[in-house]
Structures are given as C-alpha cells and as structure tokens.
Symmetry: C2
C-alpha cells in the first residue's frame, strides 16, 4: 500500500522569514509525477488545548481578542509547547497560567492539525478534572476573560455560528463523544508536586 503516487520529496529548504513569532520556510519539492514545485509553510512548535471540567458539569472557557480576525472569540484554554516541554506539563502550565485552575486528573484525548496546507502545527487535546483554583499568571500582552459554561450552551453557540475556533469545536466534539461513552478517555492522577 505505497503512497508513492501522492508523496512529495524535499529538494532544498530556505528560511523566508524569522519574525518575532512566525518562522516561515520555502522548500523546493519533487512531485509524484517527477515535476517540481515550491511549498511555503510556517514552522510551529505544536500546542495543546484543554477541556477543564468543573465538578458541577460546566467547563472553563475563555474569551480572547484574536487580532488576525479582529474579534473576540470563545475558546478553550490553549497554548504553545515550550522547547523540550512534556506535552501534559504544557497543558498543566497553560491551564494554570491562563485560568488559575489546577487539576487532579488528566486525560489525553487526541491530536488535530489546524492548517495542514501551510503550517506544521499540531494541537493535542487534553481533559482536566478535579479542578481547584490557584494563582493565575498571564503572559505579557495577554488579556483573557475566563468563564464557566454548560456544555449544552457551547453546543448551541456552535450551532448558531458563535463558536468558530477550530480547536475548540473539536474539543467540544471530544467532550460530547467522551460523555456519551463513544470515545472513552483514560484518566491519570497528578499529584500536587507535579503541578506548578
């Protein structure tokens, strides 16, 4: 079952941009039919998105201004993985930094690729429960409103077109599928010492 009729092979690679935030490459590639093409893409360290479950059934979400869209959007907490950082540690760190919440139990759900055509970014989906509040430490230049919502309210927002963030829609899908038992999760305990 070879994919030779689909696969592209790198011939050369150049860095087009090394911004404060964006690292953009242009590679020359050889195509399946022997032709050549260029592929431009963003190199991204990967990220996590977290579904934080309160004991009363609500989930923690955020409202954040997303400058490229020029609008405030509703999202689950998320953030980029630091170099060498364990992915669950990243999920624990981002949840604490952005919302103040820590969690006694964590579960890995899955991974998604937001922009396969022009970014290497992957986003791992993590679930957190057994939440308790601690200190919050937003990054410089980060302004985030934290709120608790019923899953049914998020579903209604998605149906109305008011929840449009891709990672958050997929996180909501995982929430509904895991709660119905269709896509089960495996929970692991995390001690307080393992958290920041």
């Amino acid at each position: 079952m070879s994919d030779a009729h689909l696969v592209e092979t790198r011939l050369s690679s150049e860095q087009l941009l090394r911004g404060n935030f964006l690292d953009v490459r242009r590679d020359h590639v050889s195509l399946p039919d022997g032709g050549q093409a260029t592929r431009e893409y963003v190199v991204h360290p990967g990220a996590v998105v977290i579904v934080p479950l309160l004991d009363d059934g609500r989930v923690i979400v955020e409202r954040q201004y997303r400058y490229p869209l020029q609008q405030v959007i509703l999202e689950f907490p998320a953030g980029k993985i630091d170099p060498g950082e364990n992915h669950r540690d990243c999920a624990m760190r981002e949840l604490a930094e952005e919302t103040g919440y820590r969690a006694r139990q964590w579960a890995y759900a899955g991974v998604l690729h937001p922009t396969a055509a022009y970014s290497t970014e992957f986003i791992e989906i993590w679930f957190a429960r057994g939440l308790y509040l601690g200190e919050r430490h937003l990054d410089d230049g980060e302004f985030i409103e934290v709120l608790a919502q019923e899953p049914a309210a998020l579903d209604a927002a998605a149906a109305r077109g008011e929840l449009t963030d891709a990672k958050s829609l997929i996180a909501l899908m995982w929430l509904q599928k895991s709660q119905s038992g269709q896509w089960p999760l495996s929970w692991v305990d995390v001690t307080e010492a393992e958290q920041r």
Copy 2:
C-alpha cells in the same frame, strides 16, 4: 457589554513577506492596558470545505500529501476562495475540480477559524447531495486520491487518531449533528447551468 478590556487596536502595519503563496504581516497594536505589542499573521483569502453525500449514505473524502506534516492525511474536499468568488460557487468549483462530482443540492452549515492566533483564514462548511460524476481538473502540482467512506468509518478513524485534519473533524461533527437533527441544514436546488 463592552469588550474594551480585551480589544487591541492597529497602530501600523507592514508586509513581512509576499511569497508565492504566503502573505505575512506584522502590525503594531495598542493593548487594552495602554501597552504596545506586535502581532504577526498570515493574510488568507478564506476557504471552503465540502461534505459530499452519496445516495448510498457514504461520503466522498480525499487522501492528500500535506507537505508541512510530511504525511498523507484524510480530508474532505476543500479549497481557497478566488478573488471576488461567491462562496457557494467556490464550493461547487472545488468539488468538481478535485473529485469530478457535481451536486444538485447544496446547504451552508457554518464557518470555522483554523488558526485564530496567526491567520485571517476562515473556512465555510458546505454540504452537497444529489451527486453525479463529470470531469475532474486538478490544479498543477495537486495529487489527490478520491474515495467513498461510511460516516461510521470516519468516526472510528477520528477516535483512533487517524483523522486529524481540523476542518474535516468539524465537517464530520456537522455531518453527525445534521443527521441526528440537532443542527439542521437548509438545502437549496442548484441547476446544471449554475455549475461548471
């Protein structure tokens, strides 16, 4: 209900990169607390993803090598909107070009933002039914395998981590929600003359 505590305001904008494919900007912005920051992002024309429903209940999907991920992934048909193009016309054009299928009925489902942090991209989700085959016209340098899948097989692939493309996971969510009656669709007829 002001969002002044979240909103960022453009002070200036520069083009960092005008590639063959990627248009990257860096804006200086004023933050809600009066501070300043830079925001780097890709300017994107927007895109559509299509859920093509066969009469036998299967859906049309594609396998395509995504160079930034260095892997062949499973996706629903999709493509970028041409300048000035009507979004449903784009959906009809991309479905025909990539798969050869035309559709007698179309329905708009919703919109998603794949990468709100660093791209202006939006993706509209369209459904197509009453499919019939015509000619296929792939773009230069485009290599796509077309296949028909049961929705249940796509669900199982998603649960196993073998369907990771964000727009396609959300398209699957819309497929399941519309078929269960939770997120209803409004279908419109399209004449053959309206199609290419």
